[in-house]
Symmetry: C2
Subunit: 181 residues, 2 copies
C-alpha cells in the first residue's frame, strides 16, 4: 500500500500556494496517488466555525488541519494544506505529529510583488487599514527555518515551480515518477 | 483501489459501541483494509476543544467527526466512529454527505441493563444528578429509524455481534472475506 505524507504549503496570501497545490494534486492523481486538498475555507466551515483570526484561533485552526492531514497521511493519502499558517511554532508542532511524513514548501514572494499584483485587492485594503490583522501587513509571518523546499514564486514560472516540487518528491521516493502507474 | 466507507456506531454509553468498533477494526485490518477509528475523546481534544455538551455543541462535534470520516472514506479508508451521537437529524446529515458510503450500526441495549451493569459507574452518578445532561437519563437519545444494522448487545454475545456485523459488510461487498487478502 502507498505511504502517505503531508504536503504543507506556507506563505503569504497571493504567493501562489493554492495554485501550486491544485496543479500538484492533478498531477499526483494522474500518477495514481490518492490526494486530498484541505481547503482553508472548507476547513474553517467544517472544523473551525466560530474561530477568528487572533493568534490563538489561527493556531487552533492550523492544529486541526494538521490533525486531519496526519490522519489522511497515515492512511496512504497525500494530504495537502495550502493555508497561510503564519506561525512557525505551530507548523513545527504539526510537523512533529507527522513522524517524518511531512514535506513543507515555503512559497516565498516579496511583499512588494504581492502588493503590486494584488489579484484579490486584499493588500490594498489591508494597507488602508480596512482589513485588520492581515498577515504580512498588520500581522506577522514567520518564515520557515528549514523547509523541505523553497519556491520563489516572484521569480519562477508556475511550471518551473511545479517541476521543482515534483522532482524533489520523486527524488525522495515520496511519489511515483510520471508514467510509472 | 479500495472503496472506503464509514462505519458509524450509535447507542447509549456502555452499550458496547467501542468494544465492537475495536474488534471490528482489528479484524478488518487483518483482511488488508485501512481502518481509522475516530476516538471520541481524541476528537474532542483535537477538533472540538472548548465545545460542551449542549445539543448545539454535541451536534457540532458530531458534524466534525462526520466530516473527517467522509474525508477518510472517500480516500479508501474504513472510517469508524463510536460516539454516542444521540440526535437523529445530525446523524442523518452526516449520512447525506457520505453519498451512500455510510453504514449505521445501532448498538441497542435496554436502559435497565445498562444501569445494572454500569461498568464505569456513570449511570449511578447520572441518576443521582451528579452528572447533568447524561444521554438516556437526563438527555435524549433518538433511536435510528433505518440503521443498516441493529446489534442487541443486551442479548447477543460480543462474538455473535461481531460475526453479524462482518457478515453483513461482506454481503454488501463493503469488505473482503476472511483469508481473501
Amino acid at each position: 500500500m502507498d505511504q502517505g505524507f503531508t504536503l504543507w504549503f506556507t506563505g503569504l496570501s497571493g504567493a501562489g500556494k493554492s495554485t501550486l497545490a491544485n496543479l500538484a494534486a492533478i498531477e499526483l492523481r494522474e500518477r495514481g496517488h490518492r490526494v486530498e486538498i484541505l481547503d482553508g475555507d472548507e476547513v474553517r466551515q467544517n472544523l473551525s466555525k466560530g474561530l477568528g483570526f487572533s493568534k490563538e484561533d489561527r493556531d487552533t485552526n492550523i492544529r486541526r488541519i494538521g490533525y486531519v492531514c496526519q490522519l489522511l497521511a497515515r492512511n496512504g493519502v497525500i494530504a495537502i494544506s495550502a493555508a497561510i499558517s503564519p506561525y512557525r511554532s505551530v507548523r513545527d508542532e504539526v510537523r512533529r505529529v507527522h513522524d517524518n511524513r511531512f514535506f513543507e514548501v515555503f512559497v516565498r514572494c516579496p511583499l512588494d510583488v504581492l502588493v503590486e499584483r494584488d489579484v484579490k485587492g486584499l493588500y490594498k485594503k489591508a494597507i488602508a487599514g480596512e482589513i485588520k490583522g492581515f498577515t504580512g501587513v498588520s500581522d506577522p509571518y514567520e518564515e520557515p527555518h528549514n523547509p523541505e523546499l523553497i519556491i520563489d514564486s516572484g521569480a519562477e514560472s508556475i511550471d518551473e515551480s511545479l517541476a521543482k516540487l515534483l522532482g524533489r518528491l520523486e527524488e525522495l521516493g515520496h511519489v511515483r515518477a510520471k508514467g510509472s502507474r
